[in-house]
């Protein structure tokens, strides 16, 4: 991952690239305008450097000289050129990126929750359908349509290297599309203020070749394997008792859709809405005390005993 994962002065796909060139054009025009105006003010002010005390103002007589209107007319004519170019370019770019070119290769439903992202992959049959969280896989080189939903308050879906922002508004069906032309992991972030943990509501889009994507999809469709060791079995028991109120693990009795689907938790690189790397230590720490990582998070403190926590972690690590 590059050193500036959310920078958008470079893009990694057809949609973002269209915007990148327009952004650079407006940025360069803007910088030039500031330099020119700054220089005009500076030189204009220094031409008569009648420096002195405050009362010296009265010692300079007032005169009306020169044709000032010419300044305004010439200034407007010069300003009109970049303005018109920007206007036309804006409309052209808007037309180009307002919808995906041709039929999208994949249609996803992405839902913003306080404070994590749910991605639902719809198949033709319920058994082809699954949910994952905070890590969205897409095939590279093709447009992907994303239908956005807000579960609670307004969130905004943003993957700067791939596309600009679109809000996920409760009660409203917004649509956006992505295209990654280079395989890789692209960071995304909620950009509509949504409450206490708006800051820690990140996700990743993983763009991979079609075959790898299909392999990933097939694996995500599998249910969780049964626990093997006694510790894993104990872990599942605790999970059923504690975690299943909010989370689903397909293949077990945990089936709530309130929090992220954990069926393939260990296939994801980030947990806690993108706030932590998915390492065993982080995972255990997050389960035990989410409130110290994300104060205000809707996941409560668990108060598990040491052995219980170890068992839960051991079980969750089987969810590859």
């Amino acid at each position: 991952m590059s050193a500036t994962p959310l920078a958008y002065l470079t893009g990694a796909g057809a949609r973002a690239d269209t915007t990148v060139s327009l952004t650079w054009f407006t940025l360069i025009v803007s910088i030039l305008v500031c330099l020119i105006i700054g220089a005009l003010v500076w030189w204009g002010a220094r031409r008569y450097s009648a420096r002195g005390g405050a009362l010296a103002t009265t010692s300079v007589t007032v005169e009306r000289g020169g044709n000032g209107i010419r300044w305004i007319v010439i200034g407007l004519i010069i300003s009109a050129v970049p303005l018109l170019i920007a206007l036309v370019w804006t409309m052209a770019a808007l037309a180009e990126i307002s919808g995906p070119p041709g039929n999208p290769a994949l249609v996803l439903d992405v839902t913003g929750h306080q404070w994590w992202w749910e991605a639902r992959y719809n198949g033709t049959h319920p058994s082809d359908t699954f949910s994952t969280a905070n890590e969205i896989h897409i095939p590279v080189g093709v447009p992907v349509l994303v239908r956005l939903h807000g579960a609670d308050v307004i969130h905004s879906f943003w993957v700067p290297k791939l596309a600009g922002k679109t809000d996920a508004i409760p009660g409203q069906n917004n649509v956006t599309w992505l295209q990654a032309d280079v395989p890789g992991r692209y960071r995304g972030q909620c950009t509509e203020y949504c409450g206490l943990q708006h800051a820690k509501m990140a996700f990743e889009v993983v763009a991979e070749p079609r075959a790898a994507f299909e392999r990933w999809r097939a694996r995500q469709l599998q249910t969780a394997p049964p626990p093997v060791t006694p510790q894993q079995k104990q872990g599942l028991a605790v999970v059923n008792y504690r975690c299943s109120l909010c989370h689903a693990i397909r293949g077990t009795s945990a089936g709530s859709g309130y929090g992220p689907d954990l069926t393939h938790l260990m296939s994801r690189q980030l947990i806690a809405g993108g706030a932590l790397q998915n390492t065993p230590g982080n995972l255990a720490g997050w389960i035990q005390d989410p409130q110290s990582v994300k104060p205000g998070s809707l996941m409560p403190r668990q108060y598990l005993s040491g052995p219980e926590l170890a068992a839960v972690t051991a079980y969750l690590e089987t969810l590859q």
């Binding site: 420096r51 200034g75 700067p160 409203q172 972030q189 509509e192």
Partner: protein, 651 residues
């Protein structure tokens, strides 16, 4: 003299006996009684200015705490809740409680002086708008003090502001406080509009009105039109929260997007309302230091009005990411790009004025001239966000935070500080210190740009706004540290400004009537002006009554020391809207406790609504009723004099 008689005002010369008589008529009673009941626009104006500067300081301290939290990644100085309340309160303070009231303060103080008049059109309404502003500020801040400040940003999107997600009193304080503040803004706006059209000195036809007055006029018209939208929005939100209505709740057919439309229909014109009067200050004061009239006065006045009109049609550019249809977005995108044109007219007029004049570099000049650059920086970043595809990337990042600070600090704070250096002698009779002024300017200018110029880059590197912390490894660490350092330097600059005001108040050089050799009427009276402003009502013959001898443009001469006396009581003159021909004598009200009582009644009423206590609200309501009764009780002394002959009524 018969009541309701037709009377032609006596014409006479300025003389000490007249002045003594007018002083006795217009002077506010000394002591606390006068302090609580005065309707003198100068006292009210100064109160507005001082209150707004105090709130600027408070909002600034909030900003510094925010910058400490953001100085590095993963800092934990503030909890998320504290941070969210702090950034929301900072926005509320600066945008609603500082930026607009400070301009109202300057306009209140200066308008009657600029217009050659003796007070605002409705002096008691003027006092009311100040007291309600103060009440609203105290109301909003009492929420913050007890830990229930606004916590959803200044534009307060639903559904997060609804009770389901925001159960505390935070949003009730904010919603009701904003409705209360809306009352102040509305009555103030109505007062400015009537004052502009009816109380200009004879001869000050509409083409001779200074640009500052145009700025406040257009801002007031805008406020009158759009404040109802936001007051309604906050009222509906309060209903949703307290009475279970469903205006903004999607699960029962409400529309979250409705809030955004209602808010931004107000919000964008409001942004222009808090910059246009400040731009007007620059248009009027910058030429004084350039020793020439403003280039393109008429064009600048028209540009001011057109910015406001176009400003009504750009609100959707705050909502480009909400999934609106492409056609609608194209329209608002186009309008947002086009609005650059009238702003460019003003900028080139200022630059031409500098180039064609002979600038005297004073502290005030430095603030005004640098404001041109800051205005352009804030303008071009606004132009970038006007382009929909670009905005989809820029919006809700620190690029927008940088943009709005260039707009609000660049086009409001810098002109206001410059205007203080410029008009302080008129307010107080003393000059501000120029040496300290240079230190003040350069610390503010360099500190501000050090803090906020790199913030554009922080935004381009993708840092989202309104985050209480950020992870490392995103490329934002050093930029944020620089911004924090710059913001502290800027704060020191503002502190130097306050110190300079404080010191100059006691030790400043005595100013005289017109220390800058400025052209407009406020400089023809003494510094500070007497309670009656002008001994005789001036008659105006040009745009620059005090420069006529130097400009020698043969428009005739304004008459400043001979004119209508209007000394039979508290009298002023009403003139026609366009040509400013004298129309009738205005009987101005005496000092009154009614505005204060009304404001107190409103405050108690709103506290009752906040606490959902019928009795408290009832007491407040009764007090409001009593105050209105006191206010509107007919007085013989205020009866306008009707002419004897019916045809003279049209004179």
């Amino acid at each position: 003299m018969r009541p309701a008689a037709f009377r032609t005002p006596e014409i006479g010369e300025d003389n000490p006996i007249l002045r003594a008589r007018l002083h006795a008529i217009w002077e506010t009673t000394p002591g606390w009684r006068g302090w609580l009941s005065t309707v003198d626009h100068k006292q009210i104006g100064l109160r507005y200015i001082v209150t707004a500067f105090v709130l600027l300081a408070i909002g600034g301290i909030e900003a510094l705490v925010i910058r400490l939290q953001l100085a590095g990644p993963n800092l934990t100085l503030l909890t998320p809740d504290q941070y969210n309340q702090l950034f929301s309160t900072h926005g509320m303070t600066m945008i609603f409680l500082y930026a607009s009231p400070i301009l109202s303060g300057f306009s209140n103080y200066l308008w009657p002086l600029i217009f050659g008049s003796r007070d605002m059109a409705f002096p008691r309404l003027n006092a009311l708008s100040y007291w309600v502003y103060l009440a609203a500020a105290l109301f909003l801040y009492s929420g913050f003090v007890i830990g229930a400040g606004p916590n959803d940003g200044w534009f307060n999107y639903v559904p997060y502001a609804e009770k389901d997600y925001n159960p505390g009193l935070n949003q009730d304080f904010y919603a009701l406080g904003m409705v209360l503040l809306g009352i102040s803004t509305t009555v103030g706006a109505a007062n400015f509009i009537v004052t502009f059209f009816k109380t200009r000195a004879p001869g000050m036809s509409i083409n001779r009105v200074p640009i500052f007055a145009w700025g406040t006029l257009t801002a007031s018209v805008a406020n009158l039109v759009v404040v109802p939208a936001v007051s309604l929005a906050f009222f509906l939100l309060w209903m949703d929260r307290q009475y279970g209505t469903q205006f903004f709740k999607p699960e029962h057919g409400g529309q979250p997007l409705l809030w955004q439309h209602l808010f931004w229909i107000f919000g964008h014109p409001w942004v222009y309302a808090i910059v246009l009067p400040a731009m007007g200050m620059v248009s009027d004061a910058l030429p004084v230091f350039c020793r020439r009239p403003l280039v393109g006065h008429t064009l600048v006045a028209l540009a001011t009005v057109s910015v406001m009109i176009l400003g009504f049609g750009v609100w959707v550019h705050h909502m480009f990411a909400t999934g609106l249809p492409g056609l609608a977005m194209s329209f608002f995108s186009g309008a947002s790009i086009i609005i650059t044109v009238p702003s460019a007219v003003t900028v080139f007029a200022w630059i031409a004025t500098i180039w064609l004049g002979r600038p005297v570099i004073t502290t005030a000049f430095l603030f005004f001239a640098s404001m041109i650059l800051l205005f352009v920086i804030g303008g071009v970043s606004g132009f970038m966000t006007a382009s929909v595809p670009v905005d989809w990337q820029l919006t809700d990042t620190y690029f927008v935070v940088a943009h709005l600070h260039y707009v609000l600090i660049g086009i409001n704070v810098f002109p206001v500080v410059g205007a203080t250096y410029f008009w302080f002698p008129k307010f107080t009779g003393r000059m501000m210190d120029e040496r300290l002024g240079r230190w003040n300017f350069w610390t503010m200018f360099l500190g501000f740009n050090l803090g906020f110029l790199p913030m554009h880059l922080t935004g381009l590197l993708g840092m989202p706004r309104r985050v209480y912390t950020y992870p490392d490894g995103m490329g934002w660490d050093i930029l944020n540290l620089i911004t924090s350092i710059g913001s502290f330097a800027f704060a020191i600059g503002v502190l130097l400004f306050f110190i300079n005001c404080w010191r100059s108040l006691r030790h400043g050089e005595v100013a005289g009537d017109n220390p800058w050799g400025a052209p407009t009427l406020e400089w023809s009276t003494s510094s500070p002006p007497p309670p009656y402003n002008f001994a005789v009502i001036p008659t105006v013959a040009s745009r620059h009554p005090l420069w006529e001898d130097q400009l020698r443009e043969g428009e005739g001469r304004s008459s400043l020391f001979r004119g209508m006396l209007l000394d039979h009581g508290k009298e002023a003159i009403a003139t026609t809207s366009l040509d400013a021909d004298p129309e009738r004598i205005l009987e101005m009200p005496e000092d009154s406790y009614a505005p204060l009582l009304l404001a107190i009644g409103l405050a108690i009423l709103f506290v009752g609504l906040l606490l959902m206590r019928g009795i408290v609200a009832g007491v407040g309501g009764a007090l409001v009723f009593l105050a209105l009764l006191l206010w509107l009780w007919p007085r013989a002394s205020l009866k306008e004099r009707e002419p004897d002959q019916p045809e003279a009524a049209h004179g």
